[in-house]
Symmetry: C2
Subunit: 294 residues, 2 copies
């Protein structure tokens, strides 16, 4: 069965490589907004007896949902039998419980919306905080891929004497894994509370690491507040300017500029979301997984 | 059973009147966008054994869909049994067939999305062009209300010697109906084609109507191009500056300013979509219908 790959965010950096690595054809379509804000969309392919992949990173998700559902439904109407979604960045994973009564658990509603419409889903480093697996909320065939190996590979190739740094105990599992894969040491910052407002953050064995390049790794760089604070703590202790790595560079509230101004040596992201900081290519990771689904 | 009315577009002009006329309580909730573009929402009401109405006009629909679905799902999660939607303006009614192969018939997908989630739907003057009834695409209890009587009432009270004017034969049915209800005469402009590019538009019996105030009526004023052309034809024949009435004032592409600049005497809309041209109140019409559904 022939497979067509439709890229909803037009210039997505993964498009061309996925087309090559999966040996699929790029789907041809266009869409635009009518003056009244509705989406017009037209598919130009013969879809009979074909299957489709839609590639769309779901950062800034609200405005993408209607075009995404319209594309999906148009493909089905044109005869496509099976439609999968590659969302290198998956949205609405954070509101995973009611912190206060009456709060929306939007992760569940969003999961239901996509599950009802797509046949399969592939994503990278979804924000699985309280959920252990996408299967807890997504009722469709899915793959949650880990970027840690490709991040580790980038560190090995680009950072001399890397020292992975986790900002708190919660981050240890993830930081330890990247450190192991990069064959590098890691430390976790510790907080000492002196009274209500006085929290001291210390860097363990700081003298031992002064020659290393600190590397901060997170799944998402959104507002970047935690990373920004961590940079401050490291520089306070006279450590070198750290390299900041995020799988997904959301960069809300000008966080790229803020992190650089705070003393980051460099900020690096994967190409899950188009940004000039993209240095880590996810195409092989995604292609390998998707080839088992089409 | 108690009923709560949640207004998604915060300052919707119909909110207060519907709360009074339906004897319901306004629902209390807030929502905002996280820096990453996701919607946070929280409901503050005790929802057990209650039903809910969501009031939301669906102009500029794409950005409203996620907040709408999140509110609906949060209400259900909080125990609401039945949720209806009052969408004074209903979106995605125009793409009702494939004009070209491969085109999205978005009216069907949007109808399916809402039908799967809501228990009932009330709207005013939906753009039923090729569909004869909402039931052709909406699979839920629904009411498509006609604004013609309230528009006619406004004309009677505000326009001296009104003459309803339809821009083409397609408009005759609608124009004739408003004219009859307003107890006013109407004319339909006719086109005479002289060769490929030379189309003359004539006003029938123009001498007879020079003392009248032309009234142009349409369901939606979107880009307003047809209305703008009609104003031009009337002024060309030395008729008075026309009053332009639209049930729904979308006013895309600065059409309000363009229509006024083209010589409209006044532009009047219903309060389906908040705009300073709102002069026609739909609250009684809607309340009467909704009271049969709750």
């Amino acid at each position: 069965m022939n497979t067509l790959l439709y890229t909803l965010d037009g210039n997505h950096p993964l498009q061309q490589q996925l087309v090559q690595k999966l040996s699929v054809r790029p789907g041809r379509f266009d869409f635009h907004q009518f003056p009244d804000g509705e989406t017009y969309l037209r598919v130009y392919d013969n879809c009979i007896d074909k299957q489709a992949i839609i590639l769309c990173s779901l950062n800034q998700p609200n405005n993408k949902v209607m075009p995404l559902l319209i594309l999906l439904n148009t493909l089905r109407q044109q005869g496509i039998k099976r439609v999968g979604l590659i969302a290198p960045y998956l949205a609405y994973m954070r509101q995973d419980k009611q912190f206060n009564s009456g709060e929306a658990v939007s992760s569940r509603y969003f999961a239901e919306l996509l599950s009802n419409q797509f046949d399969w889903l592939v994503t990278v480093d979804p924000h699985l905080h309280r959920y252990h697996s996408l299967d807890e909320i997504y009722q469709l065939e899915n793959r949650a891929l880990f970027a840690a190996p490709v991040i580790a590979k980038w560190i090995i190739q680009n950072v001399s004497m890397p020292l992975l740094v986790g900002p708190d105990n919660e981050s240890e599992q993830w930081v330890a894994k990247v450190a192991q894969l990069a064959n590098a040491p890691y430390i976790i910052l510790t907080k000492h509370r002196h009274g209500d407002r006085n929290v001291e953050v210390s860097v363990p064995e700081v003298q031992r690491w002064l020659q290393h390049t600190p590397v901060l790794v997170d799944d998402i760089i959104s507002t970047g507040h935690t990373m920004q604070a961590t940079i401050g703590h490291l520089l306070d202790k006279s450590m070198s300017a750290p390299v900041c790595i995020g799988t997904h560079g959301i960069f809300a509230d000008n966080s790229y500029e803020r992190l650089m101004a705070s003393g980051a040596k460099e900020i690096v992201t994967s190409n899950s979301i188009l940004h000039f900081s993209n240095q880590i290519d996810l195409s092989s990771l995604i292609a390998e997984s998707v080839s088992g689904l089409i």
